[in-house]
Structure formats: structure tokens, C-alpha cells
Symmetry: C2
Subunit: 196 residues, 2 copies
DNA sequence: TCATAAAGATACCACTTAGTATTTTTGCAA
DNA sequence: TTGCAAAAATACTAAGTGGTATCTTTATGA
């Protein structure tokens, strides 16, 4: 049962790419099987419905990426303000998996599927909560270690920062230029300094 | 030529509502004519294509709303920091045209149509630039009047704030609760204070 | 008031959609 | 090597999709 697993993974990966670029609703199963060179029979052998595949993309593609690229970097640095800034910099500027013209996959998904599809909503909420938790923990630790003022509300700051990230991803789509990212990062640095 | 204008406006308004709730691509013309009680012949008399209608929604529904609800409030107050905070508060908490579970119409549109449709991209970009300009001007004025530090970069701050707004709209969709708005507003207040 | 164009109604088209039923091929355990 | 289930291929369906062609009704300016 090796080749079958490979087929399944190919579908998920190629489908993710298409969806990231075109959106979920406008990516048809025919599109997916055309680019994967997998037949409809094979597709429906691996996934009962299109939505089942969509949810699998979230849990098997997006979730690991979140852990590796969004959460771990927060835990490997001592100064949480640097950690957050560097994370954002790496996500926006260096990461070559994420493209400025296509925005943030999770944010795109949320925009498109919420509040209509409860399953997607739930899966995406879990993702977001994981990131929120990681960032909040980082900030709390920073308060203890004296990197951040004691009166800073960690949850509040986390939400503020994450909103900024999602928003600037949208801005990037609109302007199709990383320039906006640089502008955002400069002000993010100022904001983070104000938490010292 | 009164009744015809009314028909056209009904189509735009009802279509906007459907699109705001369901998204552009998933709102079919059949949906629109069903809820407006307008026949297909009438629809296509007023709009050559679905996209022409979509663009008309941006210029005839979204644009006036932007001017009235997003830009004017910035110009009617002397303290720009208060103006910005109050604007956000009114948009997020008081405005009953915008619903937490459906996010921000302009942001939804951007997410869905960009970068695929150049016309939509362009129209939405103009909207955004208008808001950006208004906010930047407000901040610059505040610098002159001593409400804001001279070393603050107006464009940068504008982008940071607008990103936050878009992002928290996405958060609201995800959690379907205005609680996140309140959290965001608290930190926005802190951030704005840091510009004094 | 009535001719004429604007506005709206109806039926249809070619194409795409997610999904299914049925058959065929493949890989592997015995 | 073969039996058999797992995996994949093929052909199809019913319900939509945006859009068009053609007809009928309505309003209004002379």
C-alpha cells in the first residue's frame, strides 16, 4: 500500500496548489484530476467528496506547515519580540511556499468557507487557535523574562498582531507587490518596541 | 425612465447582499433573479455580463459606503487618534450594515477576485487607495497639530491599521463573535497611544 | 392617442459541475 | 502462480452555470 498513498498525497498537494491560486469553489474536481493525471475513479476512491478532500488538505498540508513555519520559530528564540518580528519577516519575505499574489492559504480558506461550512470553520478555527496559543505563550514567557512590560495583555497583543498579518496578506494580493510587506514590517517593529 | 432605474438598483442591492453573504462566484445569476423577482431578460437588459454587474456593485454600492462610513468620519474630528479609534469602533461594533459572520465586503471581494480579474482588482485597488489617502492625510494633519509625534510615518501607520482592520474582520468570520472585535479595539487604543 | 423604443418575459443553448455505477487493472499474500 | 481485494479507469447522470434569441408588454414623447 505504498503507491496508493503516493497517489493520495499527489492529489492533496496538487489540489492545494490549485486551491491556493484559484480558490476552493472555483477549483473543480476536473481541474484537479487533469493536473494530477489521476482519473475520477481514483479520486473518488481516496475521497468520498470534494469537501472531504478539502478537509484533508487542511489537516494534512496546512496543519504541518503551521507547526513547522508558524509555531516552531516562536519557540526557538529567547527574545519574544525578536521571535515575532523574525517570524513575520520570514513568512512574508523569505518563505517561497507563500506567494504575495495569492495571500495566506488559511486566510483565503476562511474567507471563502466561513461561515457556510461548519466543518471547514471548525478545522480552520483549530489551526488559528494553535497559532494564537503559541504566540500568547511566547509573549507570556517574555513578560516573565523581562523582555516585555508586565502590563501587556498577551492575548490582546497576539490578536492584534495576527490580524495585522492576515490583513497585510490581503493587501499584498491587492497590490501584488512585496513593498507593502516591507512597510508593514517597519511599523510592526515600532509597535513591538512599544511593548518593551 | 424611473421604474427601470429602480429595477437596476434593486438588482444591485439584492445581489450585493447575496454576494456579501455567499461570495461572488457562488452567487449565481439564477439566485439573483430569484430573490429580486426580476427575470433574466430584465437582468441582461441592465447588465451585459455578471462581471459588469459585479463592477457596478463596487462603484455604486461599495464606493458610496466607503465615502460615507469610512472616510467622512475621519474628517469630522480634530484629534486624528480619536478619529481613527472611533471610526473602527463604529465600523466594528455599531454599523449594522456589516455583519461579523460575513466580514468586510471589500476584503471578501479582494480575497476572491484578486489576482484573477484585473477589472475587479483595479476597482478594489481604487477603493483601498481612497481610504488609505484619507487616513494618511488625517495622520499628517495630526502631526502638524501636535496630536501625533513628528517621527511617525503616516503611510506606514495607515497600512498597519488597515491591515489590522481587515485581519480582525477575518477573525470575526472565523469565530462568529464580536468579542474578538472588542479585544482588537483595546489593543488598537494602546497602539494609537504609542503614536502620541 | 398612438408609434416606437425601452423594458421585461420566456424558452432555450452549450457547457460545466460534483458525484455514481460499472468495469478493468494492479499488486501482493498465500 | 494465482486468487482476490485494493486501486484505478471509463462512461455516464442530473442539476446547475452564464448567456442568447425571440417574443411581449409598458411607458413616454410627438
Amino acid at each position: 500500500m505504498k503507491k496508493a498513498e503516493a497517489t493520495r498525497l499527489t492529489i492533496l498537494q496538487k489540489a492545494f496548489e490549485l486551491i491556493y491560486v484559484k480558490g476552493y469553489q472555483t477549483t473543480s474536481i476536473d481541474d484537479i484530476i487533469a493536473t494530477t493525471q489521476v482519473t475520477k475513479g481514483a479520486f473518488y476512491y481516496h475521497f468520498k467528496t470534494k469537501d472531504e478532500m478539502g478537509l484533508a488538505i487542511i489537516s494534512e498540508i496546512l496543519k504541518p506547515t503551521l507547526t513547522n513555519s508558524f509555531i516552531q520559530p516562536l519557540q526557538n528564540e529567547q527574545n519574544p519580540l525578536d521571535a515575532i518580528y523574525n517570524l513575520m519577516h520570514s513568512l512574508l519575505i523569505e518563505n517561497e511556499f507563500l506567494k504575495v499574489e495569492y495571500g495566506c492559504p488559511a486566510s483565503n480558506f476562511t474567507q471563502e468557507m466561513t461561515p457556510w461550512n461548519a466543518d471547514f470553520n471548525n478545522a480552520l478555527n483549530q489551526l488559528t487557535q494553535q497559532w494564537t496559543k503559541a504566540m500568547t505563550t511566547t509573549i507570556e514567557k517574555g513578560k516573565k523574562n523581562g523582555f516585555i512590560r508586565k502590563d501587556v495583555n498577551a492575548k490582546q497583543v497576539t490578536m492584534f498582531i495576527m490580524s495585522g498579518y492576515w490583513g497585510i496578506r490581503n493587501f499584498g494580493k491587492l497590490e501584488n507587490s512585496k513593498k507593502v510587506y516591507l512597510t508593514y514590517l517597519k511599523e510592526l517593529k515600532n509597535y513591538l518596541s512599544s511593548l518593551k
